[in-house]
Amino acid sequence: MTGTKKGCDHGQCGSCTVIAGGRRINSCLSLALVHQGDTVTTIEGLAHGDQLHPVQTAFLEHDGYQCGYCTPGQIMSAVALLDEVRKGQPSQVTPELRKAGPVELTPDEIKERMSGNLCRCGAYPGIVAAVQQAYGQTQS
């Protein structure tokens, strides 16, 4: 499988993001043996056959990519992000840390939580729009 990318090999760019044991990680900094028994999801494991994950569809619709090289990492981050806000995990820009329940997904929350994934093409506005759409669709 070549969907997971190597951009820096130092955990700096996020191109190698996968979801391991329910959390997004930079796979380039992670040893396989640390994840013994974990479920690891890569970009190849998101779609069900021809049925794309809502985040994948949203990236297509909002042109949330250009060259596509950082895209698998961006999408894996976005999928994990939706889970994190639902679980109420705060970020650096979350205004109220003591409030229980899901975090409100403002554009700044999306931007902050996607800032570990570099996109040199500068597709950031499309990525934010894609995450917003996917959040709306997966809410119910």
């Binding site: 499988m1 070549t2 969907g3 997971t4 990318k5 190597k6 951009g7 820096c8 090999d9 130092h10 700096q12 760019c13 191109s15 890569t42 970009i43 190849e44 998101l46 779609a47 794309l52 994948q56 990236f59 297509l60 619709e61 042109d63 990519y65 250009q66 060259c67 596509g68 090289y69 950082c70 895209t71 698998p72 999408i75 820009v93 700044d108 999306i110 931007k111 902050e112 996607m114 800032s115 570990g116 994934n117 570099l118 996109c119 040199r120 093409c121 500068g122 597709a123 950031y124 506005p125 499309g126 990525i127 934010v128």
Partner: protein
């Protein structure tokens, strides 16, 4: 589904492959028995290698071969291909022991696995006889030289002394921009495999035919023996427009190892061996009358080059055509340094040049107490002020008007430091964007397939620019088919030849060839039918027939249409294909061809922390026809992100003693992350430029980075009352 239309915001045809991880980039192809290579690079900037001890490395597990200056295959002409840039550069191919810059390739280690190659590479002991490197840019000004470029290094229009004597107000300042590196997310990489004398290269490139020609000429083999494949390029921005050393080294290593070799650059190796944007030092003098009329412009530029090869960053380019001054004098000089050869980086010249010129214009507006938009309108060039040719098309006035309106420019209080929100100083600035419209000869083929689909092919590249999509879209629109019935193929030198994906020229070069090929393919269907007694169109005249919605029909009887699959069937079931070539007509020489734009920026500066934040950018462009609104706008947005990066973040730091790139990684080489980017309001007028190419579209890949960096710098001046002329404008400078 209805037929595709030009301009329609269709989703990328290669999008599904990209969001599912199915898109394969150069280094991801599985080539049986491929060994892994790593490049060893120099740790001094100048001198020669006196000893390279590979004993320990050779004994290291898994090592297949180690290629050094002592044992590397000798190449004809010492490895100089004599191919012009962008394709051909002066390479470091282990033909001698000389070191010209820190991080220069000096050896290649090939092993069974990547980790084995990395370990062995670390075991090589290199001794140098070091000479003091030339690393001080400004110290080199007295000995600066003039380089070769398509534009002359000096250009003077009008009587310079008289022009400045006539000025009532003068602005004279120095502007600088730093060294930068492209850093596409996909590192450069090559897989080389030999089958006898035939060489196949999977290469991350912006120019497959350039790689083919350069590698063949460097190795001294026939061009027909080289095939280059690159279906996806993970970003390039100019660095992948040239064939750099590692491509040829991979081919050499595969020959020595007698098996395929994969060589991917480590991220730190992206700083030097594959080009970057040179540092610039720009002296600008603007002379004007009190009413704002420019009497003279001077723009003298220095940029650096390597000690092995010249490259001109033509920062004065736009100064020669942007404003209607009677006197315009510009120059370009080069300083040789012991660093990797600089190269084309997104809008080479205009990116750095508009940063300087458009800040200078803002300074003049301040000096004249004049609105910056009004100053630009006062000096609006109706024709090119130095070539004196008419512009192929220019609607910059509308860009200023629409941009100012959308941004709310009229609400701006012109006084600096006049907007404050608590600790934040808010500023508004604007600038003009411009980039030349380029086009060159290209070929394409269109094929009617027996299964009812159409294939469009061209040996071009898609770096994320949307080439696949617009090829399919233009072919589908031409043939009256939905885009879902068209397959686009590119990135293989067995396809009809396409040009380098550089200079924002791919769309304007390739799509006319696609249209011509579609016409020729239809003509082939017509020819087959009118000469086939089995056809209902037997004996008809070609002009009596037409092709619509996938059917050939008589113009006089539109219901007579028969699907092309029937014709393909009558032709023995073999696909019907035609190839065509398109090049700019001679008429284009009569015009000065450029794209235009107006950019407005709102920046908030934290007065205590010196942190600038670009809250919003409004940009309106005149880029001719947008072939696809969705992918087109993405290109413009990407350019704006680069402009913000140039203004506020990006800089390659070279150690002044060792010449080593210090911040040679993606954590310390700052470029924008998602949270850095504010609200971007991007639009295009969409006025076709039929004087330039048939569909009226000019390039869009580079104009976004021009002007906008100055708009941001001007907004920072307006916010803080302090003028910054040295990019990037970082918090340390803002707090100083």
């Amino acid at each position: 589904m209805s037929a595709a239309a030009i301009g329609e915001p269709l989703t990328r045809v290669d999008g599904r492959a990209k969001v599912t991880g199915a898109a394969k980039y150069a280094a991801e192809f599985e080539v049986p028995h491929a060994a892994h290579a790593v490049m060893v690079t120099s740790t001094v900037a100048s001198g020669r290698i006196t000893r390279m001890d590979t004993t320990a490395a050779e004994r290291s597990p898994g090592v297949v071969t180690i290629m050094t200056p002592a044992n590397a295959p000798r190449l004809p002409n010492n490895g100089r291909a004599a191919v012009n840039p962008p394709a051909g550069r002066v390479l470091q191919l282990l033909q001698d022991a000389e070191v010209h810059y820190n991080n220069q390739p000096i050896a290649v280690v090939v092993a069974e696995t990547l980790n084995q190659a990395l370990l062995a590479a670390a075991l090589i002991d290199v001794r140098y006889q070091s000479t003091p490197p030339k690393l001080d840019f400004q110290a080199g000004f007295p000995a600066a030289h003039v380089g070769k470029n398509k534009i002359p290094s000096m250009l003077s229009e009008g009587d310079v002394a008289q022009g400045f004597a006539a000025a009532e107000v003068t602005v004279e300042q120095i502007y600088t921009t730093p060294k930068q590196n492209h850093n596409p997310m996909e590192p450069h990489g090559t897989i080389a495999s030999w089958d006898g004398e035939l060489l196949t290269l999977h290469d991350a490139t912006q120019y497959i035919f350039g790689v083919k020609q350069t590698v063949a000429k460097t190795l001294g083999i026939p061009e027909d023996n080289v095939r280059v494949l690159c279906p996806y390029t993970g970003g390039g921005f100019g660095s992948k427009g040239s064939t750099w050393s590692h491509v040829v080294l991979a081919a050499m290593a595969a020959k020595v190892a007698k098996r395929p070799v994969k060589l991917v650059l480590e991220r730190p190796q992206m700083f030097g061996p594959v080009g970057g944007r040179p540092e610039t030092y720009q002296h600008i003098v603007l002379g004007a009358k009190r009413d704002g009329t420019l009497t003279a412009i001077r723009h003298d530029c220095y940029s650096h080059v390597s000690t092995v090869e010249d490259f001109v960053e033509p920062s004065s380019s736009q100064t020669r055509m942007l404003y209607a001054a009677p006197v315009i004098t510009t120059s370009q000089k080069l300083v040789s340094l012991n660093v990797g050869t600089p190269t084309f980086q997104r809008a080479p010249g205009e990116a750095t040049g508009t940063f300087a010129l458009e800040i200078a214009m803002d300074e003049l507006a301040v000096a004249l107490n004049m609105d910056p938009v009004a100053l630009r309108l006062k000096n609006y060039a109706e024709a090119d002020p130095t070539s004196h040719k008419p512009f192929s098309s220019k609607h910059l006035r509308e860009c200023y008007e629409q941009g100012a309106g959308r941004f709310g420019w009229s609400k701006r209080n012109p006084a600096p430091r006049s907007h404050r929100e608590g600790n934040l100083l808010i500023g508004y600035g604007m600038a003009t964007a411009t980039y030349p419209a380029n086009r060159s000869e290209s070929q394409a083929a269109v094929r009617f397939e027996p299964n009812g689909r159409v294939t469009v092919l061209s040996g071009t590249q898609d770096l994320g620019t949307g080439t696949y999509t617009i090829m399919a879209q233009v072919a589908a629109a031409k043939l009256g088919l939905p885009i879902t019935l068209v397959d686009a193929k590119l990135g293989d030198t067995r396809q009809p030849q396409g040009p380098v994906s550089g200079g924002s020229q791919t769309a304007a070069s390739v799509t006319p060839a696609v249209q011509a090929a579609a016409e020729q393919a239809v003509l082939k269907l017509v020819t087959l039918e009118i000469s086939n007694p089995g056809s209902p169109f037997y004996g008809a005249l070609p002009e009596e027939l037409d092709f619509k919605e996938g059917k050939l029909l008589r113009r006089s009887a539109p219901a007579s249409g028969i699907p092309f699959t029937e014709i393909v069937g009558r032709n023995g079931g073999a696909a019907v294909e035609a190839k065509a070539s398109a090049k700019p007509s001679q008429d284009v020489e009569e015009y000065s061809q450029h794209s235009w734009g107006a950019v407005f920026a709102e920046v908030a500066v934290d007065e205590s922390l010196g942190m600038p934040h670009v809250r919003r950018l409004t940009a309106v462009y005149d880029v001719g026809t947008l072939l696809n609104e969705k992918t087109g706008k993405s290109q413009l947005i990407g350019g704006l992100v680069w402009a913000q990066s140039l203004a506020l973040e990006e800089e390659t730091h070279i150690d002044p003693t060792t010449g080593r790139p210090v911040n040679n990684n993606l954590a310390e080489y700052h470029m924008p992350v998602n949270l850095d980017i504010g609200a971007l309001d991007v639009s295009a007028l969409g006025t076709p430029d039929k004087n330039f190419e048939p569909l009226g579209g000019r390039g869009i890949g580079e104009i976004g980075i021009t002007g906008a960096s100055a708009a941001i710098a001007n907004a920072i001046y307006h916010a803080t009352g302090k003028r910054f002329r040295d990019a990037p404008i970082t918090p340390d400078k803002l707090l100083a």
